[in-house]
Amino acid sequence: MDAREGGPPEGLLVVGVDIGNSTTEACLAVVAPDGSITYLGTDLTRTTGVKGTPDNTEGALKAIRGALARAGRSAGQVETVLLNEATPVISGLAMETITETIITESTMIGHNPTTPGGEGLGVGTTRSIGELGEQQPGEPVVCVVPHGWDFDDVAATLNAAVAAGVDVVAAILAGDDAVLVTNRLARPIPVVDEVSAVEKVPLGMLAAVEVAAPGRTIRTLSNSYGLATVFGLDPVQTRQVSPVARALTGNRSAVVVRTPTGDVTDRRIPVGELVLHGAGKTLRVDVDAGAEAIMEVVGRAQPLDDARGEPGTHVGGMLAQVRDTMADVMDIAGQPDVPVSEIAIRDVLAVDTFVPAEVRGGLAGEVALENAVALAAMVRTSRSRMQLVADLVSEGLGAAAEIGGVEGEMAVGGALTTPGVDRPIAVLDLGGGSTDAALLTREGECTAVHVAGAGELVTKLIDSELALGDREVAEGVKWYPLGKVESFFHLRHEDGTVEFVDQPLPPHVFARVVVLTPDGPSPVPTRHGLDHVRRVRREAKRRVFVVNALRALRQVAPGGNLRALEFVVLLGGSALDFEIPDMIADALAPHGIVCGTGNVLGTEGPRNAVASGLVRAHAALLAAEVQ
């Protein structure tokens, strides 16, 4: 970045340094006696060590030297280095499923084989294919075929039985053979296949097999009264089997076996209570009540002093887990470890999510989307040792170094250098662990808050909801737009537009949903279509960033009234995201707020706000002294 006015600027050379969780930024400027500022250069490097610890020194020096080099200045000329008073927050994550589907006595097979066979409904008694020979004609039979049977032999055996007068009305197969078998049958019947635990299907029981036409879903077995009709159930029994119907909704094929005590339950796991201390109150909320309920209570307990979960329950475990990780982070070599008990959780963000999980008691690896709650928590730490960092920097650079101000206030100051903004101005710093907001009123008063949950949580939600089990892929889905490779020469973007390429695309992305990274398309290993992946991605961002933006701004807005805000400037790494800023802007628009991604100093984008804010604050001070 160049100096604003030509000519050697008069005044003192100062460097603002912002040590963040992931990046360390420097802003070099000359401050004239009258407080006017000439910016000379900026630099950005990775933060070394845990924020607020002496390890930061190396990164800080690197950034300072980088800025000096760009401006062609030497360390000797530096008058003062200004460091931020690091926001003393560290955040952690935990996730817990709160529902569980259980099938007892294998009453149903609700999985969705990609290729079932035949079409329609077949109701009969379950018999193993081995016994078809002895089967008497007349009674309708649902044929159960174990592993190891070849599709040709299955078809031949069924045809023979039917020829002998056995009334085979449906079949349940272990292997992926449904279409193969039905294609070879003299009399077509519905066939459900890929039932991995087929040996557990009770024999000699009344069973119903339903397969819908391609692109359709079953109608009878997913309908409680359909089940009642098929099995002749009375109202009490019908009430009992209604979970079965619900569990089968949306499937293309299904099997239901009528067993004396068989049942499907969708039970809630007792996750335990979240105990919130704050605003002089102690409030309790059941975590399995879901995110909305939790956040409502969290809202009433603001400002939060601490949050705990009753020991022995899942939520107890979740928060303990969060505390432990934070204790590790805060531990500093050569100092006594932080007692976990001392770590006070100062904010909690709960997000409803779901986890595809295998159904207990299922016969075909049925998967149910179990509900889950993700918690992001944040603690304040007294362990920030920026002063020590400042001393080390001063030593390493041979120039004075001091704590120049608190992050939030500095960020607002820096944000003010964004063209087109004015007081009252609020900033939203969209980070990795926490979302921070600060407000500078017309009168110059500044308030700042930090709320739990940011980029890391988004990645975790994407990872689990798409069952990727791969953070690298989840990060990719979060950062880059999606596409579908439709041929070696063209791909369709998520907005529907088609892009043609002259160099054929690599084979490993052929026909796949991909993320469009700077180094080309990279496949997303999922069976889901592009739209589903996109929905999950946007939902995750909305549930974390949009929710937190409103939450944080309400806390700084006068009287919690968003309309009292005028300019909101987005800062931080996630402000560079290709859709989050728009999502937040859309959410704020109804409140008559101007919202956009910051452009610090008119050149730095959402970066360097705190560093340049430090310079501004220092300049203001100097000016004041002069008068």
């Binding site: 990775r46 953070r471 690298e472």
Partner: protein, 571 residues
């Protein structure tokens, strides 16, 4: 269905209990086939190989092994133009093969005298000569013709998870155990920069002066070399027939150009070839495996590379399955040496289910000694070997050391005390931790260092954040990190000795001393090559002898009962 499932026992007919035991022996899991000379599925004795002949006109070879120049394929052309010494060709060819074979094993004939003859020989003539030699004579020849007087060994240091910390720790242990060269490669290619750095740092911790290599596609391998992150290159394949050479998308000229490219950056380099590759690809043109390999060897000679990795290498299953196959493999190593090339002599790929066969396969190289007895002894468990497994791995260390002691031969390795090994592994991991920190790469935790100190395989290490590592690897390329940056990182973190070691290795590329035939760096950083350490074998009591301090080293094993106090062990 795994290929190591026992064979179905003969369906019909009752067999004796003894036969059942024999059927269950590992050797019967190996594959063996009948020869098929018409197709080149034959080791070295084929009536379809051409008869030796040469004709020189106007200082130019116009006939080679029965073909006139207009009928030359590009191998003939290249060999005639570059490999054969035209001046002496006709005279050398006139010498009866039996006499040349005798010169090879006669202690009274010096290596130079043999070279004076072999430099004028055609491929068919060379084959005609070695066909006269049995395996003991081949070994006797190798003992004299090996270019460097002092034998050495090369190790593979890879990780099934491409874990840089593992590579560093295993490289340090490997260097300490005696490998003069260490080679690595990747599962995920994008990991290359980090793993290459780890190999270099680990090697210099274990023993200053060990040379390192990272096998990759030409461009990246050359770039890492030019950056000074690796020290030599080896995986430049050549083939014995024009069709297979073209299949590999290269020619003798493109490879020669590449050879000069490496030298022009001060990087040591050798070609790779081996018996069986052509027939494996179905284009042996009806020639024996050894004849085609001899063409490769002479092509390499003509290209002016200092050395060759051969001994069938990745095709060892083919010569290994035909009669006389391992004799041919021993012969191809000898031929490389008898045309004055550095020979890294194979023993570097999984070869047999039978421990007895695995050992026997290595004797013709280990007993006479070669420039590198293994061109890849797996200094990691074979499960971690990303070169698809070697003939020997970490589990064989003690056996190898014992065989060296039994026969008083130098296979390039030695037994090292546990405390030294643990110290080296730990230091290598810490040094890498410092370098990563200095280069702003994903941090290495103390847990990882603890794991590296005591680990055996990649399973014993904490999982890395692959995403972060790959970003870091990319940044190494983007930021154009070089060997100098590694030196700085090591020095600034207080690893002065390691930094010095690496700097001295880097300095060598300026001198070019390592470009000479069979060059390695000794522990005191003296370049040792065929020039200043020429093989001077002249019969019993001459040449390289395992004696003195080195012999005392190799007498040590894990467990040796003390003669002074039989209740204790020495070492």
């Amino acid at each position: 269905m795994t290929t190591t499932a026992p064979r179905p026992t003969g369906a019909a007919g009752k067999q004796s209990l003894r036969t059942e035991i024999l059927e269950a022996r590992p050797v019967n899991l190996d594959g063996f086939v009948e020869e098929w000379p018409e197709k080149g599925l034959v080791a070295m004795e084929s009536e379809f190989d051409p008869a030796p002949s040469v004709r020189v006109e106007g200082g130019r070879i116009v006939e080679l092994d029965g073909r006139s120049r207009d009928a030359f394929d590009f191998m003939d052309t290249f060999i005639a133009n570059h490999a054969i010494d035209v001046a002496s060709a006709e005279a050398s060819m006139a010498i009866p093969s039996a006499q040349i074979a005798r010169m090879l094993i006669d202690p009274g004939v010096s290596r130079d005298e043999v070279l004076a003859v072999t430099r004028g020989l055609t491929p068919a003539k060379v084959l005609d000569v070695v066909k006269l030699m049995n395996v003991v004579e081949i070994m006797q020849g190798m003992q004299k013709m090996r270019a460097r007087r002092t034998p050495a060994n090369q190790g593979h240091s890879t990780s099934a998870r491409d874990n840089p910390i593992q590579v560093a720790a295993d490289a340090a242990e490997g260097a300490l155990r005696g490998f003069a060269e260490l080679e690595t490669t990747l599962g995920v290619l994008r990991y290359a920069p980090l793993v290459a750095i780890a190999l270099q740092v680990g090697a210099q911790v274990g023993r200053g002066g060990v040379l390192t290599q990272c096998a990759l596609e030409e461009a990246t391998e050359l770039e890492l070399g030019m950056r000074g992150i690796t020290a030599y290159a080896e995986t430049i394949s050549i083939y014995g027939t024009e069709s297979v050479f073209v299949d590999g998308d290269d020619t003798p000229w493109s490879k020669s150009f590449l050879a000069a490219a490496y030298a022009s950056r001060g990087i040591k380099m050798r070609f790779t070839s081996g018996t069986g590759s052509e027939v494996q690809m179905g284009n042996a043109e009806g020639k024996s495996m050894l004849y085609l390999e001899i063409r490769c060897i002479l092509m390499a000679k003509g290209a002016g590379v200092q050395g060759l990795q051969n001994g069938s290498i990745s095709c060892i299953g083919v010569p290994g399955a035909v009669p006389g196959g391992l004799r041919a493999v021993a012969a191809e190593n000898l031929v490389a040496s008898m045309v004055d090339l550095e020979c890294a002599s194979g023993n570097d790929q999984s070869f047999s289910h039978s421990a007895m066969r695995r050992t026997a396969r290595a004797m013709p190289q280990m007993l006479p000694g070669t420039d590198f007895v293994c061109s890849g002894y797996s200094s990691v468990p074979n499960a971690d070997n990303m070169f698809a497994g070697s003939n020997f791995d970490t589990e064989d260390f003690d056996d190898w050391n014992t065989i060296q002691r039994d026969f008083q031969v130098d296979g390039g390795l030695r037994h090292v005390r546990e405390n030294e090994i643990l110290a080296a592994r730990n230091k290598a991991a810490r040094a890498l931790q410092a370098v990563f920190a200095h280069l702003d790469l994903p941090p290495i935790t103390d847990d990882e260092i603890e794991a590296a100190t005591y680990a055996n395989s990649s399973n014993d290490y904490p999982l890395r954040d692959v995403l972060a590592d790959l970003k870091g690897a990319q940044s190494v390329m983007d930021r154009e990190i070089t060997g100098l940056d590694l030196v700085k990182g090591l020095e600034s973190a207080g690893f002065h000795d390691v930094a010095e070691n690496l700097l001295t290795v880097l300095r060598q590329r300026v001198s070019g001393d390592l470009l000479q035939t069979s060059a390695v760096l000794t522990a005191d950083f003296t370049p040792l090559s065929a020039i200043n350490d020429p093989n001077d074998y002249a019969g019993p009591g001459t040449g390289y002898r395992l004696q003195g301090e080195r012999w005392e080293q190799l007498k040590k094993l894990r467990h040796v009962t003390s003669s002074t106090n039989p209740e204790t062990e020495v070492g």
